[in-house]
Subunit: 417 residues, 2 copies
């Protein structure tokens, strides 16, 4: 089954809005084993839209339209697509009532009512997060046409809850992907280690790099989800065998989500002492709802005086080794454990750039320490390869800290050669 | 001048990557006054790509291709586009030398060398951030064709430094936009206040909402930049007259960048005490390079004990009013000033959700306090309208804190009715 997407909206052609709808729909189609051959963006122009829809209906089995279903005059998708597909619009009473309820009144304006006019005989896709319903129908030549609203907060749930189930009826296979998340080994060496596994056609295996981490995606096509899962399982097992402790999870949301979960399970608390990451690590931990049970306190100590006052870092250490040093990171981690009474403490100090680097201590040099009150481990990150920016250095240092906590909690060596 | 974009890459059709290139190019075209009529994504398939390029060259004056210029076998853009445009590829010696230098060796592999083969007679667009050069040339029918590399970190600077100057020669007008950044007034009331100004055709005025803030974009088309600026100026002036202190800047990068700059100018220091924002405010301040001169210390105090120990919040206040209260926010702000010795201190406490809300203290209730050591101001944020998520509540609370600092530094009333 070959598909294409047409997104409608002049704002997408002015670059004011990034077209995330296409990626959302593309992932869903990929999971259904439907080949997406084209995607296009057309402005709010009836003539150009008509031409694009006609071409798509002629060459593809499935056309997904996003955007242009709203109440205003420049929302042209339904009229234009229905005409190109040889269908008339008809008032859909249920949708009108939903719109009336949404606005909490009996009489809705003509503009708002316009949204309830849908192609005759279509399957209505209910909008649980807005006013414009979507729809699915077959064009005269047999091409399936699906229309979804533009706002991603409306499109994503409608796609998942109504459009995908509709499409599942017409495809007889599913594609299932599982992501094996890896920390501490880069994309290139991981790909090399998995070289022989990457020739497989079903399941397939592909490596991806993402913000200083990498993951392997295992994808299988089968008649149903269970069968696809069973095909993925031995490949995931083999990856685990080869990468061991560097695999931190399968299909996990993030390192911080995993760490918060493991801290909760073990009833342990973590505290943070940050210099160059400036609160980013604490922010990432507290991004996770429920983190208050494992996180009492974090200190952002940019100034040396703050490191001394809040974290008991000895003045002599700062004097002798400087703020960016293994010794300071160690003292920060130990100091925050003492200050907070938490089970574990992280200390991070380094040079995030773009300014402040020297020959001895270049931008990107960051020390990360983990202490449990009786023992302390330090990892030194040095800049290698292409120049990265401030955001990247900060993000990677925070990730490294999270992975050290993960390793500690899982009983693995905290530092890796 | 009518343009279209074709992005090449199967990964874009699998939804693994969001197509940000199109938005970047679209904004640049918009600024040049070039109409973008279509954008499309085609996979790494020579036949479909050829058809798409042929259609584009026939109907548009300008075609911009992104992606598929790299060294691997599925990088087909140059061969396919050159063939469709009636051009041969030729080895470009300078580009080959740049690739050799990049890899720090004399002999580069055949794959890498492939990147230096470019359409005969083209203008080469140098890649300062990678190996694959871009190029610009005219097809046989006169359509201008520009090819840019896919990675946004390579595409964006090449576009700005080489492709835009190339295009400027062929357009005889420029479009200039200025953004008027507003805090404390929403998009809808701002739009209403500017109603009469929004009918203008040149310059135009349009309101945008962005993560709890809003801005007005003033856009003028003229023969050159200076003239366009002069056309925008009176509109910007009028907006300033109407919105006054709610305008925090024209074309500024962010609230945090503005606040760090103003703190630097006034030689003042700021410290932060965060509960529900969990380090996000400190993170946003330290996102700004050079912030170490104005930011010594931040505390993330999730637990009540941490609020008492680090910020001297009296036990009685926590007992009597709870952690989420005006009194606690006030004590946190005053406490961090005392603890840090900074000129200004922020205290934030609230319920970011999704859990932890009650009828008296619902999710979204957040108190933000600013203290200068002698006086303290508190703003209460209450959840209104549609339910927002944890990230939104945290972001908006941090923005509110930054705006309070901005108001203080500019001598405006810190709190607004």
């Amino acid at each position: 089954m070959n598909a294409e997407i047409i997104s409608v909206g002049t704002e997408l052609l002015l670059g004011q809005v990034v077209n995330t709808d296409t990626a959302i729909v593309a992932r869903a189609l990929s999971a259904l084993g439907i080949n997406l051959l084209y995607s296009a963006v057309v402005g709010d122009n009836a003539e150009r839209l008509k031409t694009a829809v006609e071409t798509a209906i002629t060459r593809s089995d499935l056309l997904i339209m996003t955007g242009g279903l709203g109440p205003t005059a420049d929302d042209l998708t339904k009229e234009t697509t229905a005409a190109a597909a040889g269908r008339k619009l008809k008032l859909h009473e249920d949708s009108l009532r939903r719109i009336q309820t949404y606005f909490n009144e009996k009489h809705v304006s003509e503009n708002q009512e316009k949204q309830a006019w849908l192609p005759e005989g279509c399957t209505v896709l209910q909008n649980d997060n807005g006013t414009a319903p979507g729809c699915a129908f077959q064009a005269e030549n047999g091409c399936t046409v699906i229309m979804l609203p533009g706002p991603p907060s409306e499109l994503a749930p409608m796609l998942e809850n109504y459009a995908v189930p509709y499409l599942k009826k017409s495809v007889n296979s599913v594609i299932v992907s599982h992501n094996v998340h890896i920390y501490g080994r880069g994309e290139a060496p991981v790909a090399q280690m998995m070289d022989d596994l990457m020739d497989g056609e079903n399941p397939t295996l592909a490596p991806y790099a993402k913000e200083g981490e990498c993951y392997l995606r295992v994808t299988a096509k089968a008649a149903d989800e269970q069968q696809a899962d069973e095909m993925c399982a031995p490949v995931i097992e083999e990856i685990r065998n080869r990468l061991g402790e560097f695999v931190y999870g399968i299909d996990v949301e993030s390192l911080e989500a995993l760490v918060v979960k493991e801290l909760l399970q073990q009833g342990k608390k973590l505290a943070t002492a940050e210099s160059c990451t400036g609160g980013l690590l604490a922010k990432r931990i507290t991004d996770i709802s429920g983190s208050s049970a494992v996180f009492d306190m974090g200190c952002v100590t940019y100034a040396n005086e703050a490191k001394e006052a809040l974290l008991y870092v000895p003045h002599e250490i700062l004097e002798a080794h400087g703020a960016v040093s293994e010794e300071t990171a160690r003292a920060m981690a130990e100091g925050i454990v003492r200050r907070s009474g938490s089970d574990l403490g992280i200390g991070i100090t380094g040079i995030a750039g773009p300014d402040g680097g020297t020959e001895q201590k270049p931008v990107g040099l960051i020390y990360i320490a983990l202490s449990d009150g009786s023992q302390t481990w330090v990892v030194k990150r040095s800049p290698i390869g292409r120049t990265k920016n401030r955001e990247w250095h900060r993000h990677c240092a925070a990730s490294q800290a999270l992975d050290m906590v993960r390793r500690y909690l899982e009983g693995l060596p905290v530092t890796v050669e």
